[in-house]
Symmetry: C2
Subunit: 201 residues, 2 copies
Amino acid sequence: MIRVLLVHDAGLLRSGLEALVSKAHDMTIETAGWSRSLPATRTTPADVCVMDTEGLRDSALDELAAALRRAGAKGSRMLALADADRPGALRRALDAGVLGFLDRNATPDRLLTGIRNVAQGKRFVDESLALAFLRASEMPLTARELAVLKVAAEGAGIDEIARDLSLSGGTVRNYMAAITRKTGARNRVDAIRISQRAGWL
Amino acid sequence: MIRVLLVHDAGLLRSGLEALVSKAHDMTIETAGWSRSLPATRTTPADVCVMDTEGLRDSALDELAAALRRAGAKGSRMLALADADRPGALRRALDAGVLGFLDRNATPDRLLTGIRNVAQGKRFVDESLALAFLRASEMPLTARELAVLKVAAEGAGIDEIARDLSLSGGTVRNYMAAITRKTGARNRVDAIRISQRAGWL
């Protein structure tokens, strides 16, 4: 039996996905919201952890990956549901050690296939996500630029960003100019919008 | 039999919700993504149309409501899945004529109860959404201010907003100042962030 831990924050959608997995005779399933997912890794040993990348807050996936490793669940065999038009979310999932990537638009059968592959430690990627992976590899911003943009996106002005990241105002301005140029944006608001839409932020 | 039309853009989550509704013996269900939802109202007469407000683009709900009315589906008996912390999305759904509101965190039983109530033309609102409705009634921005903020959120500068909306630059600046004050924001980026988080934008 493949033991599946399913993490999704919206209870109703979690129940829906649970209903799909329950139909497979070779799987058992436990579910949790993100806030309960970390303790769940301790109480419910799982072979595969399935999670939706939608609405995922920044460090949640890293924390879950670490918790799965601590729980000794064969490394971190994670299967992420991803949107084809959000390469940034894909990239962050890849960096967190996710093994399988399933299009949120996939069929229920594909979900079961993905779970079985990842349970065996195999990489699994939906074809429809290929272009998003290519775009994910082209992420134009450096880690420092992303950090600046993230604080800016929270509504901080130049001075506040500088204080937050222990930089000079001039340096922050230079970063913002580079970010705007690299994302092909018209201005700061546009750079934030473009980066959020792609899932970089 | 209650005929349900379920609209969700992510195929896998749509299948999951379909599995939950399929368990009810008094319902039949058809599903569609948003792009197919308008033709679906013509080919599949439905008593209740269930949709997720997540990731909903601006006018989609209004267009669906109009299509349902044209199809003569007893007015527009719609049941929306909503997040408790996005009063703006709730408000737009209310304005579009949605009759029932179900928390995205609800149980499968609650979904069926919601469908049955809305099928009878009854208003249905999850208790957990009550506070969000209160906050939705407190939306601080006028329609014109929202229009300005929406163009700004797309990355347009003052001049471009003025051109887009046939206003003077000074007027746009006044609107932006009012928006920043009313939303309790620190600056324009912050006002956009606050309004997006609440679902006003």
